[in-house]
């Protein structure tokens, strides 16, 4: 799983909504090395401001040496990234971190994503053999519909929920989980913390293994800055970039 630094050519930067973009880059070395759940560090500016790279999980991998990243404009870094155009070069480092572990999954895997947390689950769905099922949630239809289509396009069954009820279930993803859990051996989730906690709580009650993918600020992505620490189970800290970003929910001190 070698890591590399690659000047990557932008193939497309598709707006999915006014704020959400899918950036596709030609980055064959990173693409071939990547596993679902891993992330890359993206240089958003060639100037010194903003200074730091931004971490993005790999959203999908193309057969042509490309990878895509999903992002929402939330600050200066993502605003700059939204302006990137096909043909531009962008500097990527990666792939970093511990991805999803599917070695123990015997029965179908259920993927549960909320908002931009849906990003790494598409790559996971691409790589999973056999029947797969995704529960996807977002604020509204505009945001959710294009993302849901990516999953449907690769033959993944989807159930949807929106905060405003404009698409699918009116409410939160964990509401949908009860009827699904008896049929799965593994849940993989990424999204807002309250959602992931709710998912992890239900998984524990049903004795289903739950892997969660965390997001934090980080300066380097490779275990040097130690800026991405989050509390671990025994009072110590774990580093999202190296021990994560994917954790078994039992490794985290969540009050489940």
């Amino acid at each position: 799983m070698p890591q590399s630094q690659q000047q990557s050519r932008i193939l497309a930067n598709d707006p999915l909504t006014a704020e959400v973009f899918r950036l596709t880059v030609y980055s064959p070395e990173i693409a071939v090395a990547a596993a679902p759940g891993q992330f890359v560090m993206v240089q958003v500016s060639s100037s010194l401001d903003p200074l730091l790279r931004r971490p993005f999980s790999i959203h999908s991998r193309g057969a042509d040496g490309s990878i895509s990243l999903l992002f929402k404009v939330v600050g200066r870094g993502t605003a700059l990234l939204a302006k990137a155009r096909p043909g531009d070069k962008i500097d990527l480092l990666g792939p970093f971190g511990r991805g999803f572990d599917l070695s123990a999954a015997e029965k179908p895997v259920c993927l549960i994503g909320g908002g931009m947390g849906i990003a790494p689950l598409l790559f996971l769905a691409q790589e999973l053999p056999g029947r797969k099922h995704a529960l996807l949630g977002a604020r509204n239809r505009d945001e959710l519909a294009p993302l849901a289509k990516f999953f449907a396009d690769i033959g993944c069954a989807v159930q949807l929920a929106t905060d405003d009820g404009s698409l699918g279930h009116h409410g939160f993803i964990p509401d949908l989980l009860d009827e699904v859990l008896p049929d799965v051996s593994q849940v993989c989730t990424c999204g807002p913390s309250p959602m992931m906690r709710g998912v992890a709580r239900k998984c524990r009650a049903a004795e289903v293994s739950c892997q969660v993918s965390l997001e934090t600020h980080m300066a380097c992505g490779m275990g040097a800055c130690l800026g991405c620490a989050v509390p671990g189970r025994d009072g110590s800290y774990v580093h999202v970039c190296k021990e994560g970003p994917v954790f078994n929910s039992e490794e985290l001190p969540w009050e489940l």
Binding site: L52, H217, A224, C225, L226, G227, P231, Y237
Partner: protein, 308 residues
């Protein structure tokens, strides 16, 4: 073409070139192996080590600022036992000199760390972080009082014959006073600057952006301050000065040499460009060629102030 000579000397330690990596920005070096040739570097300074492992501060620990970043990592490290057993075997395979940064809460801590490291093969030097609070003296930072900085230097000097660098804090009234104090106490070199204490606030939530409230500012934003302090310090002491602060290009490094630095450390730049240090080595060679110089040492202190 004549051979370029990038060698510099820090006490008894000869470096093949003057580009080192700053402690706390380069992990234990192995993390960077995919991104650069570690043996092209003048030296590697690893994450600061204490006697016991430290868990570090609660998150958030870092925040980006204009052309820089604040950190309050809290000196998280594996402790000296695990450093020697887990990190040294890899570090020993490198040909680039290894300098180990140490930190403690008391003079006894520093003495014991230096004594232990003195026995470990594969270590070329010790850098002492004196920015930590002295728990036995009411928590005043060793690096804030000249007598205490001198005392730390003296106990480490007494415990090891390894080349000894003392890393100075810029959070003092006059850094040259600190430099002179540690020089008199036996330091072979001083390195500066450590981070500048700063803070960031979220106006919307009215909360500090770091859990620790305050943190250390680093990155290109601090370079002019670092350059000024290196310039002043180089005129105040006889021992080599190692420049640190916002260095991300070869030109940045050259500026520090002209101000009087004998070597430089690349810090925050490692985070956003993990091959920065190697690029700087290559850039220095290119600089010498472009200026028809053979030796990097001719740049040291060569600032042209027009007689001022």
């Amino acid at each position: 073409m004549e051979t370029l000579d990038l060698r510099v000397r820090i006490g008894a330690l000869e470096l093949q070139n003057p580009v080192l990596t700053a402690s706390g920005t380069f992990g234990y070096a192995k993390e960077f192996e995919p991104f650069l040739n570690l043996n092209r570097l003048g030296g590697i300074i690893v994450k600061g080590i204490s006697l016991e492992p430290r868990a570090g501060n609660p998150p958030p620990r870092i925040v980006e600022t204009a052309c820089g970043m604040l950190n309050a990592i809290g000196l998280e490290n594996v402790g000296i036992e695990r450093f020697i057993s887990e990190k040294m075997p890899y570090l020993r395979t490198l040909t680039a000199p290894l300098i180990v940064n140490i930190l403690g809460d008391s003079l006894d801590d520093y003495r014991e760390l230096a004594r232990r490291l003195d026995e470990v093969p594969g270590i070329s030097g010790i850098e002492v972080n004196i920015s930590c609070p002295n728990v036995k003296k009411g928590g005043v930072a060793f690096g804030a009082v000249p007598e205490m900085a001198a005392a730390v230097t003296a106990v480490v000097r007494g415990a090891t014959r390894l080349p000894l660098i003392v890393k100075l804090s810029p959070n003092v009234t006059d850094i040259t006073v600190m430099a002179k104090a540690v020089e008199a106490a036996g330091a072979d070199a001083v390195s500066l600057i450590n981070t500048l204490i700063g803070m960031a606030i979220n106006a919307e939530t009215r909360k500090p952006r770091l859990a620790n409230i305050i943190g250390g500012l680093s990155g290109p934003a601090v370079k002019p301050i670092a350059l000024r302090m290196v310039w002043q310090t180089a005129q105040a002491v006889q021992i080599p000065v190692i420049g640190i602060g916002g260095i991300s290009t070869a030109d940045d490094a050259v500026e520090f040499f002209l101000a009087g630095a004998t070597a430089v450390q690349v810090g925050t730049a490692n985070f956003y460009d993990p091959s920065a240090a190697e690029k700087i080595v290559a850039g220095l060679e290119e600089y010498l060629q472009r200026h028809n110089e053979e030796r990097i040492s001719t740049l040291i202190g060569a600032l042209d102030t027009g007689g001022k």
